[in-house]
């Protein structure tokens, strides 16, 4: 092994960690929704892709950087998520899981085909000056866009943590996730909290989409991949654990980048799924999950 190899390995890991932050933010949206209301959002990757398209459109037609349209996209996603939960998902919350699955699958199909109808099947990406810039960290070269995206993802995760530990609504959501009967007993408006939670989950994935478009171009067919990726991350990290979603994102980000280096980029999913199988065998509750939950 040469020093060259180790440098490119370190380079791949650094790149994977940065992408992994954005993955983590995406998975956080899935994890929060599942952790609180036990709804598995099968339209998660589709929502991610919609977020990417919105950021792309803002850039393409209005010349707004995805970093600037991000807050707007997050707010829009929050409102849409809130309304979606209140109007469509809420009646399904006590129904059998296969019915919830069908509902969310239907939403997924609608979203992905709307993207296809509006933007077409081709890859769409943004061309930003920052994409040609990089930072040097010792011998490592970090892409500027990737670093910006990762730092923004960390900042958003931090805000989310503050929301869940410092605000009344955030604490109420944790309470409702902790003990549903207890929440009813103290008089929390659980339906409103659920809608809020879905809104927060949607805002996470919308923001992650706006960040992701600066790194990678989007096509409607990426949606299914992102849904799977988010599941893998959340299961590896531990269902319902926020730390787990972030750590899982980093792990999968690194494994993809290393797979791309050692084998070829098209085989990166093999590493992620291999990791998933390993975790399911050795620690089924996930790295940060609690046994029995």
């Amino acid at each position: 092994m040469t020093a060259d190899f180790f440098l490119s390995l370190a380079q791949a890991i650094a790149k994977g960690l940065l992408t992994g932050m954005v993955y983590g933010l995406m998975a956080l949206g899935l994890s929060v929704v599942f952790g609180v209301m036990r709804i598995v959002n099968f339209a998660h990757g589709e929502m991610m892709v919609v977020g990417m398209y919105l950021a792309w459109m803002g850039f393409e037609y209005l010349q707004v950087s995805p970093m600037l349209s991000l807050p707007l996209i997050a707010i829009l996603f929050f409102a849409a998520g809130y309304a979606l939960q209140r109007g469509l998902i809420s009646p399904f919350i006590n129904r059998p899981e296969h019915q919830q699955f069908l509902l969310l699958l239907a939403i997924a199909i609608l979203l992905v085909n709307a993207c296809l109808a509006i933007a077409g099947p081709d890859l769409r990406g943004v061309q930003m000056e920052a994409q040609f810039e990089s930072y040097e960290l010792g011998p490592l070269v970090l892409d500027a866009v990737r670093l910006h995206a990762a730092l923004t993802a960390i900042a958003i995760a931090g805000l989310l943590w503050l929301f869940f530990t410092r605000t009344r609504t955030g604490k109420s959501i944790r309470a409702a996730a902790d003990n549903h009967t207890g929440a009813l007993v103290v008089g929390l408006d659980v339906r409103r909290l659920y809608a809020f939670t879905f809104g927060v989950g949607a805002a996470c994935v919308g923001a992650a989409g706006a960040l992701m478009i600066t790194i990678i171009p989007v096509s409607p067919f990426l949606a299914v991949e992102y849904t799977l990726l988010a599941f893998v991350i959340v299961i590896v990290g531990g269902l319902g654990s926020m730390t787990g979603a972030l750590a899982g994102g980093l792990l999968i980000g690194v494994s993809e980048a290393v797979a791309g280096l050692l084998l070829q980029p098209s085989l990166k999913s093999m590493f992620s799924f291999g990791l998933l199988i390993l975790v399911l065998l050795l620690r089924p509750q996930g790295l940060f999950g609690k046994a029995g939950s």
């Binding site: 309470a175 003990n179 007993v185 103290v186 008089g187």
Partner: protein, 237 residues
């Protein structure tokens, strides 16, 4: 005395099974009213309907003159009814302090949150000591104190206790009944559902006997304690 709670001909079904069959009862402001009966008689169902967690098939629930039957539970709490649920139902991963904060849901309670918290801590010094600890790490007795404290944070006028002594050590059970009594002396109206028939009828002003979803007997606590049917069926005398 004015009637604070009037339950009229309440009916509830779980699927085809009838859990409550025309249950009527009154509670005057300032009273302790006990509801006793065997497991599965419908005691908890009654509380859950009053609180809006279950929707009644028929009947009325008047609180302070307003029909609240079928209201969602957060509005019932807002109206001034507190609930200390069976199994305590604390939030295990939230700290003691966060659990208490979650009790102050009604807007009028939120305005006086600080004072109520001080009162709860003086009532239950253990909770003050353990305020940073996750509620799930407390003992059963401490969790019951937390459940009561959390309910007080909502500043209710009526508290419904559902099996507050279930699964607790005898000394803690005594403590729970002492607190129920004390809260009543401070002006709170109490609806007490208990399988501990003797202890609950002793501190209750009045009581009802619930069997198979129906009220079979009612009277003052002393009357019921002296009733042969109650003595045979529930006290084993």
């Amino acid at each position: 005395m004015s009637l604070l709670l009037q339950v009229e001909a309440l009916g509830l079904y779980y699927g085809d099974a009838q859990a409550l069959d025309g249950v009527s009862l009154d509670i005057a402001a300032g009273e302790i009213v006990a509801i006793v009966g065997a497991n599965g008689a419908g005691k908890s169902s009654l509380i859950r309907v009053i609180h809006g967690i279950e929707k009644p098939a028929s009947g009325r629930v008047r609180f302070d003159g307003v029909d609240i039957a079928g209201w969602p539970s957060f509005r019932v709490c807002e109206a001034g009814i507190g609930h200390v649920a069976e199994g305590r139902q604390v939030f295990p991963n939230l700290s003691v302090l966060e659990n208490l904060e979650m009790g102050a849901v009604p807007r009028r309670a939120r305005a006086r949150e600080k004072q109520t918290l001080d009162r709860v801590f003086s009532l239950f010094p253990r909770l003050a000591e353990r305020r940073r600890q996750a509620a799930g790490t407390l003992s059963g007795g401490e969790q019951q104190m937390l459940a009561i404290g959390r309910c007080l944070m909502g500043q209710p006028r009526l508290i419904m206790f559902d099996e507050p002594s279930l699964g607790l050590a005898p000394t803690i059970v005594q403590e729970v009944f002492r607190i129920v009594h004390q809260l009543n002396e401070e002006g709170l109206t109490i609806l007490l559902v208990e399988q501990n028939v003797m202890a609950s009828l002793k501190i209750a002003h009045r009581g009802y006997v619930l069997e198979n979803g129906r009220i079979e007997l009612s009277g003052t606590g002393a009357e019921l304690l002296g009733d042969d049917r109650v003595r045979q069926a529930y006290l084993g005398l």
